[in-house]
């Protein structure tokens, strides 16, 4: 059975991506018999390019996508270059998990609460500084230029890139390299950029592409933070998909295909930029400049990083406070009256989406961890060393824009008579849960000293016995941690829920998005906070259970994720 694990896994999550792309491209060229499209034509594209909002949407997509990616990467690299091995890095590492765990939508809503005209930021400086005795009539979140969207994206992407870069740093001789460079007279940050970054870059290249692809095609955060007329391309395409006029589906499919081309071209362009930077960088390295002390740079980078974390956490705190607020007058910093009323009133409404969220997330992450464990165990028993191509396959669902293939997946599900069913929903989530679970578990699993397994085999344990009695218990913490990652990813999923669920299933995420459009802040706070709390609970269990279980096994702490 183990033999089929890699093939089954690939089939489960690459099959739908490929089939979904085909199922999107065909209608983009006019072919969708179910809606009367029986002949190939360029009509959908012609209609797409005559859409009035398209130009603005493309401009907004490209500016926000590249700005968010470049800004996030710059903050992370500047921080690590200037602070390598110092206390701020340790502090940030500790704060990483809570911020990573929060779903995108919750971060977006939290940021909107901060930056809105009546949000905490405006309250903090009013009226003594601004003279506003009422919330000003300004468009801040969302704003017409997508600044709020860029901020929201940065809040989510900085922790992700930081996590990936820290993991990559652990796999290269960073400390020794840095020590050598510094002994040759290079200033710390210069030494880091000239000697450590080239070592680390190949390992963070794919995560950076994933961030770029995500920023260019994000839907849920854009629905909360981006302007509406026109919105970026992906939400615009979603709007067309949801149009009651079914002939719009063809335009939507063409738009989704354009989104795919856009992301592909953007990654190619980024790659070209990388090559250029590398050749310029080599010349810069050859020139031998040692760099100056760079204390100002260090302060700036630390401040930027602190700002990202403080903003993210403040947003969530703000949501929590709103959900318990009864009276919160402008420009008070805190409510004047508190209440549990909002929560009590929402309990009934929460039950069904809450149950869907939890049951789908638990099932998807359980299936994912089982498949990932089977793949990793298969790989080790047969002594396979996966190449970099396997990693590209794994990243495929993260690089391809969701809206670019989910429509095709939905068409497939309709064909199979599965659309809008609970298994379809789980499957839709699995597409994105699986790669993250694999990424979270592969390194700790492969790092386990293989001599433990050899010792156990020589003691007479069967390969299955070694798996259940040695590897799994020793790696309990990373296994549970990876499961919690999968759970968190599933809880935050928006588009897969909309498409695979056929509109029949509401989760906390879809509810939060639809409430965010207008709605009562207190109610939005309830949904967004609960959405953030679920992944936290998952991570607390994933860390707490092994810690308790192995409380009397000191060396098990080394096997922490």
């Amino acid at each position: 059975m183990l033999r089929w694990a890699p093939a089954l896994t690939l089939l489960l999550f690459l099959g739908p991506v490929a089939a979904g792309l085909i199922g999107t491209w065909l209608p983009a060229f006019g072919y969708l018999p179910a809606l009367g499209g029986e002949r190939f034509s360029l009509e959908p594209w012609r209609r797409l390019f005559s859409e009035p909002g398209l130009g603005g949407a493309l401009r907004l997509t490209l500016t926000t996508g590249f700005a968010a990616t470049a800004l996030s990467l710059a903050i992370v690299l500047a921080f690590l270059a200037t602070c390598h091995g110092t206390r701020p890095v340790i502090a940030v590492r500790r704060l990483l998990a809570p911020l990573l765990a929060v779903p995108h939508v919750a971060v977006a809503i939290g940021f909107a609460f901060l930056a809105a005209p009546s949000g905490w930021l405006a309250r903090a400086v009013s009226p003594w500084l601004t003279g506003w005795d009422r919330p000003p009539d300004l468009a801040t979140a969302p704003d017409p230029f997508g600044v709020a969207l860029v901020c929201g994206l940065v809040l989510k992407e900085v922790p992700f890139l930081l996590l990936m870069t820290l993991a990559a740093l652990g796999q290269v001789p960073a400390d020794r390299t840095l020590a050598v460079a510094r002994s040759l007279g290079y200033a710390p940050a210069t030494a880091w950029i000239k000697t450590v970054l080239p070592l680390v870059w190949p390992q963070i290249r794919l995560p950076v592409y994933a961030v770029l692809a995500f920023s260019l095609s994000v839907v849920d955060m854009a629905l909360v933070l981006a302007p509406g007329s026109p919105p970026p391309l992906a939400p615009l395409v979603l709007r067309w998909f949801n149009d009651p006029d079914l002939s719009r589906q063809f335009v939507a499919a063409a738009g989704a295909s354009l989104q795919f081309v856009l992301v592909g071209s953007a990654i190619l362009a980024w790659f070209a930029g990388e090559r250029l930077a590398a050749s310029l960088g080599r010349r810069w390295i050859d020139a031998g400049g040692r760099g100056a002390g760079g204390r100002a740079m260090r302060r700036g980078a630390t401040a930027a990083m602190a700002l990202v974390f403080a903003t993210g956490l403040a947003g969530i705190t703000g949501m929590a406070i709103w959900s318990f607020a009864r009276r919160w007058r402008w420009p008070d910093l805190l409510p004047s009256e508190w209440t549990l009323h909002t929560w009590a009133r929402q309990l009934d409404a929460l039950a069904w989406p809450g149950w869907t969220t939890v049951s789908v997330a638990l099932t998807a992450s359980a299936i994912a961890i089982a498949l990932v464990l089977a793949c990793l165990e298969h790989e080790q028993r047969h002594g396979i060393t996966p190449g970099s191509r396997a990693l590209w396959l794994l990243y495929a669902p993260l690089l391809a824009p969701q809206i670019g293939f989910l429509f095709g997946v939905q068409v497939l599900l309709v064909r199979a008579g599965l659309d809008g069913s609970w298994p379809a929903l789980v499957w839709g989530h699995l597409l994105f849960v699986l790669p993250y679970v694999f990424l979270a578990l592969a390194d700790p699993w492969r790092r386990l000293d293989e001599r433990y397994a050899r010792t156990a085999l020589c003691l007479g344990a069967s390969p299955a016995g070694v798996f259940w009695r040695v590897k799994l218990p020793m790696l309990l913490r990373p296994v549970l941690f990876a499961t919690a990652v999968g759970f968190a990813v599933s809880v935050g999923e928006y588009l897969p829920t909309v498409f695979a669920g056929g509109g029949r299933f509401a989760t906390l995420t879809t509810e939060a998005v639809s409430l965010a459009a207008g709605g009562d802040r207190r109610v939005i706070g309830v949904y967004a906070l609960l959405q953030a709390l679920l992944p936290w609970l998952g991570f607390m269990l994933a860390i707490g259970v092994p810690a308790w279980f192995y409380r009397r096994r000191r060396d098990m702490r080394e096997f922490a994720a």
Partner: protein, 225 residues
């Protein structure tokens, strides 16, 4: 020659990426005897042990046969070979107690009460009575090494392989541990194959010594870390 308890290697050839490291090694280790294989890093001696216990890396091509107590074990899976191995590190399972580690080695079909008795006896032999419930992390290096040996012996191996097992111990402990290992293996009449680059190990083993010559084209790399 069947059933004499000896470990025999017949015309063993070991190559990595087409480079021959060991060429046509013939060797017999009698019960109770310790044969020492010496050679520099990268000469293939650790890989030879890995091959003997059935876990050599796929990158190696190995020819020849291994016989234990008259049985050809070349094609058997690790867990069926009845060969015990000790590494530089004790590799006690960190998630199990000391007693749990010892019990891991005892064959499955031994009933519970008997298992407990064997664990207790092994603890006594390791001069660590009453240590069963302890976390292995709280033991000293020498204590851990003794538990590792007892764990290996509880699996009732028919031969013992030692992959530089004393090199991580400090000088004072090293000599005690050598005697502890060789005495226990000798009492049980096990053929022992020791791989080392410490001449003192070979001297303490007091058995035949085989030198594997370094190959001119052999790369300089540490094979066991």
């Amino acid at each position: 020659m069947s059933g004499d308890g000896a470990l025999r290697l017949k015309a063993v050839t070991l190559a990595l990426d087409g480079r021959v490291l060991i060429d046509g090694l013939d060797l017999a280790v009698a019960p109770g005897e310790v044969v020492t294989v010496m050679g520099p890093s990268g000469c293939g001696k650790s890989s030879l042990l890995a091959w003997l216990c059935g876990s050599v890396a796929a990158a190696f091509t190995v020819g020849g046969r291994a016989l234990l107590d008259g049985t050809d074990i070349t094609a058997l899976p690790s867990e069926a070979r009845r060969i015990g191995i000790l590494f530089q590190d004790d590799l006690l399972f960190p998630h199990l107690s000391v007693a749990g580690n010892l019990a891991f080695g005892i064959p499955r079909n031994v009933p519970r009460r008997e298992r407990r008795a064997r664990v207790a006896a092994a603890l006594a032999e390791a001069e660590l009575p009453g240590f069963g419930d302890r976390d292995p992390a709280t033991l000293s290096g020498g204590q851990r090494a003794r538990i590792a040996l007892m764990r290996t012996l509880l699996a009732e191996p028919k031969a013992l392989l030692l992959d530089e097992p004393f090199s991580r111990l400090d000088a004072r402990l090293r000599d005690r541990m050598r005697h502890f290992v060789f005495d226990h293996a000798g009492e049980r009449g096990l053929p022992v194959l020791l791989v080392t680059h410490d001449p003192d190990d070979a001297a303490a083993a007091a058995g035949p010594v085989i030198e594997i010559a370094p190959r001119d084209d052999a790369p300089e790399f540490a094979e066991s870390d």
